[in-house]
Structure formats: C-alpha cells, structure tokens
C-alpha cells in the first residue's frame, strides 16, 4: 500500500464534507495523511485528526494560506509530494485549481474527477459530460488526482486521534492576491451536502417566481436550491446554484427538477441522484428519461398545490 496525501478543504470554521469523501478515496490507496492549510487553523487540524482513516495530519498554518490561493497551495503540495504515492483533493473549485498546477510542477499528468478506483494505477473517470466513462492507467510514479465527492462515502468524523505535525517551510506568494469575495447569503443546506435538492430552470421565467414558488417548497423539505445553467445565465439565481457538467455535481436522495428540460450538461450534474422527480409542461423533455417520477403540467399550478400538500404532511 502507498501513502496518500489528502487535501483538507475548509472554510475557516469547519471541514468541507467533500474532504471526508476524498479521505475515503485516499484510504483505498494507502495510509492517509491529511494536509490542512490556512491561517489560525488549529481547530481544523484537530477536527481532521479524528476523521476515520486519517493516520497523520500535516498542518501548514501561515498567513500565505489565508484565502486558499492556488499558487501557494500548489507549492505546498509540491514540497510535501516526495513522501507520497498519491496526492488527492475533492474536485471542488479549489481542488481543481491546485491539483493540476501542482501536477504540472511535478511533471505528472493529473487525473481529474475520479469516480472509481480499480487499483493504485488505474482509475475510472467520466468524459463527454458523463456520456461515457473512461478507465485510465497512469504510468506516473506519483499520482495526482481530484475525486468526485458523490462517488465516495464521507469518512466518519469520529475515528481515533491521529498525530498532528507542523509544516514549517516558509512559502512565499508574490504573484496573486485575494481582493474580495461575494458569497450570497444562503440559510439553506449546501448543494453538495444536501439530502434533498429542489432545482428550477428556465420554466420559472424569472427570479421572483423562483423565490415565490421554489423556495417555500425547498424550505418545507429542508432542501438546498439548485438551478440549471439557463436559469443562472438569465440571472434568476446566483452562479453557485448551478448544477451540471461545469457547475456542481450532486447526488442527493431526492432531486426535484422543476421547469428544467434536461440538457445533457445538466443531467451530467445530477443523474446519480437516488430519486429524481421532474415537473415539466413538455412531455417530451429529456429530463423525463431519467426521472423516477414525472409529472407533465404547468408548474405555476402544480407548485402551489405541492406546497399545500407538503403542509398537510407537516
């Protein structure tokens, strides 16, 4: 067995669920060492040290890692690389930014969005928006990869306590600087961690209808709210709601697609959901081909009725 270095993504307060999925992937490849980078992140390192499967935590605590910029994080991975057979991050915006950069620096061809691990050198990954799966074998001595969170169960956060080691090589960054972040206020569960997702598409016609019709149903189901690319492009909701090939990949227990036709790029982001419900006025919409329960009709009359029906449940 090898040694797998797993990048632990966090928001300064807590570890992202996807990092725990990445640990499960890492455990299939070797002993997992978790790397936590940030500024004043003792509490994150402690939380990482008790995740099941983690044998050691390396913590890089420095101002340079404050905003998870790709340049210093990739340099950190390059510094740590010699001890590991596999370097893994979840395929989040951060994972996708740092793994290929570090791979380039290490002269390694990275493997993106792994959904299956066959052996230490062989991996399955989707291509063509998930219309095909490619099994690829890597001849690199060290593998760098991002893994799709929904393909690996999250490692439970209550294992034995692993030792924490401090990384104390100074890493400089003069090339990039954090300016600002625009994080839309969202009281609902996070898309990638939600058990239920209610998504809207172009059929909603405007942002007001999204708020009026989608949000109440989502709240009654304790669901996250998602959207198709068309709805985001049209400005109904912010970009971080987008589900699809280039948005977020989700696999909740229940995915409700409302007024979404089901372009392959959208299906790529949600077709692994356990149960899919589609509500659309066009009975030929491709979304019905993946839906367990389809309802053909006008969403403007169906949604208020669904809202009342859910009231009766509560």
């Amino acid at each position: 067995m090898g040694q797998a270095l797993v990048f632990i993504e966090h928001d300064g307060t807590e570890i992202k669920t996807q990092a725990r999925n990445a640990i499960t992937a890492g455990s299939k490849l070797g002993d997992v060492v978790a790397v936590v980078a940030g500024y004043n992140v003792d509490h994150i390192a402690k939380a990482a040290s008790v995740i099941s499967g983690v044998k050691k935590v390396v913590v890089a605590d420095d101002e340079v890692f404050s905003f998870a910029l790709a340049e210093p994080l990739a340099d950190l991975l390059v510094h740590l690389a010699p001890s590991y057979s596999h370097i893994i991050a979840a395929s989040t915006a951060i994972g996708k930014s740092i793994i290929p950069r570090a791979a380039g620096l290490l002269d390694v061809q990275p493997i993106s969005e792994v959904i299956g691990i066959i052996d230490a050198n062989t991996f399955v990954r989707p291509i063509y928006a998930g219309n095909a799966n490619a099994t690829v074998r890597s001849s690199d001595t060290r593998k760098l990869m991002t893994v799709r969170a929904t393909s690996f169960d999250p490692a439970p956060p209550d294992g034995a306590t692993a030792p924490i080691e401090v990384f104390d090589v100074a890493i400089a960054n003069t090339k990039s600087r954090f300016v600002s972040a625009e994080v839309p206020k969202n009281e609902r569960p996070e898309l990638t961690a939600a058990r239920v997702i209610v998504s809207g598409g172009r059929g909603l016609q405007n942002g007001e209808n999204f708020r009026k019709l989608i949000y109440p149903i989502a709240d009654k189901l304790c669901a996250a709210v998602g959207a198709s690319r068309a709805a985001v492009d049209a400005g109904f909701v912010p970009n971080d709601y987008q589900v699809g090939q280039t948005g977020k990949i989700v696999a909740p227990d229940l995915y409700v697609a409302i007024g979404i036709s089901g372009a392959i790029q959208h299906l790529a982001g949600m077709k692994d959901s356990k149960i899919i419900v589609a509500i659309n006025k066009d009975e030929d919409a491709p979304i019905f081909q993946v839906a367990d329960y389809g309802m053909v009709g006008d969403l403007f009359s169906i949604l208020p009725e669904l809202d009342r029906e859910l009231d009766c449940l509560a």
Binding site: A93, P100, A132, S139, V179, L221, T246
Partner: protein, 249 residues
C-alpha cells in the same frame, strides 16, 4: 501586450456521443466537430481586449491534426491575428499540451494566456493550471470577469460559494468560465478576411518538446442508464409515492 489563446477542436456540444462497440473510445466518424465552447469565450475575451487596445496581437494555437486549422480559422474570423498549428497525429494529453504551450509562450514573448477552463470532450480541466504552474505564473481559473491594467489582471472567479476576485501580477494564465461573455458570430466579410490570415504549422520537436504519454485508456464504456420511471397523474399521487414507495420525504 501579446495574448495567446489555445483552442481545441472537439465534438460539437450538441452531438450525442456514442461509445465504440469495442470499448476503445468514442465514435467520432462523421460527427460534427467545433471549437470547444469555453475556448470560443477565451477568443472573444481576447478580441475585446484588443478592441480596448489592451492587447496588441492575438495568436491562436491548436494542437492536433490538420483539421484543427478549421477552428483556428474560426478564431481568426472572430478577430485573432494569426494562427499556429502544432501538428500532432493523435490527441495529446494535457501535460504534453502544457509543455508545448510553454515553449510557444517563450518563443512569442506572450504576457497573457487566455484559455477555456476545460474541454468538453475529456473534461479534464487541467491544461491552464498546469501551464501556469510550469511557467511559474499566477492563474485566474473559472473567470467570469477580467480587468487588465498595466501590470495586473483582476479576475473574478466562479467558485463553489459564489464569486471570488483575485489580483494577479502579469504575466498570467486566465481560464474562462461560461458567463465571462457571449462570443460573437463572425460576419461573412470577416470569414473571408480570415482566409488570408497566416497559419504557421510546426512540429512539437521544433519547440523542443519531447513527451511520452503517462495516461493510457484501458477502455471506454457507457455508464449505466437509469431505468425509465413512471408518470404521476396528480400532486397527491406524487407526494404519496415519495412518502410510501421511495421513502424520501
């Protein structure tokens, strides 16, 4: 400032791809090919930079077979100045492409590389980040807004939690996301004009790049299909089935 825009020829995004029956890959025979949509956005952004007189020259580059000249012509018709085809008989992996681009950046003394965040065929989302790494340049991935001043690129990025803005010291690599701009259609006169713009064809070894592939494709398979479900007649039936049959609410 010189801007380099790499463009990839891929199966058109509207095509429903089919896996070859022997599992060796995707059937591309007779399939419509186009410029990778994210690369179109990169070309558009570069052309806008030229219109704002920020960019002095736009060089578009593609790596692959001769037919890749088609996507170079498309980019030239959109407003790029000249094209380079790095001739390769087979598809090269991102690491090889990044090395070739690095060599071209050095030869052309480019200050900005603007490229699509991912190709819609292999969905790797890697070449830009790898190129930035091996050049030692900063990277602005998943850009939805780009502002260039004398020595800085300010890039607003689409990230998981919303938007993030970073300032990059030029030279830099920027990878484009969907909402950066809407690419223009080339007008007929511009298409005609593009035919006269130069395309240089060079071999990888002329750029001093030797690369043996690290990834081999063992097989390509079709993912398991979802079984078709049922149509419900009423909202009551839907809620009932979700509760008692699927047990998800």
């Amino acid at each position: 400032m010189k801007v380099l825009v790499p463009v990839k020829r891929v199966v058109d995004y509207n095509v429903k791809v089919r896996v070859k029956s022997d599992g060796s890959g995707i059937d591309t025979a007779g399939v419509k090919m186009s410029m990778n949509p994210f690369d179109e956005i990169a070309v558009e952004e570069a052309v806008r930079l030229k219109e704002q007189r920020v960019a002095s020259e736009i060089i578009v580059v593609s790596v692959g077979i001769n037919a890749c000249q088609d996507v170079l012509r498309t980019a030239l018709a959109m407003g790029a100045d000249r094209g380079v085809l790095i001739a390769a008989t087979e598809t090269l992996e991102p690491l090889a492409v990044a090395k070739l681009l690095k060599a071209l950046v050095a030869r052309e003394i480019v200050q900005l590389v603007m490229m699509g965040k991912q190709a819609i065929d292999d969905d790797m989302n890697a070449t830009g980040q790898m190129l930035a790494g091996i050049l030692g340049w900063p990277q602005g991935t998943f850009a939805s807004k780009v502002v260039i001043t004398a020595d800085t690129a300010t890039v607003t990025r689409e990230v998981d939690s919303g938007l993030e803005t970073v300032a990059l010291a030029l030279p830099a690599v920027i990878t484009t996301d969907l909402r950066l701009n809407e690419p223009r259609y080339a007008s007929l006169p511009n298409v005609m004009r593009a035919r006269k713009k130069p395309i240089e064809v060079i071999a990888p070894h002329e750029l001093g790049v030797e690369h043996s592939p690290r990834l081999t494709v063992v097989n390509v398979t079709e993912p398991a299909r979802r079984a078709a479900g049922i149509k419900v007649k009423s909202v009551q039936e839907l809620v009932e089935r979700l509760r008692k049959e699927a047990k998800v609410i």
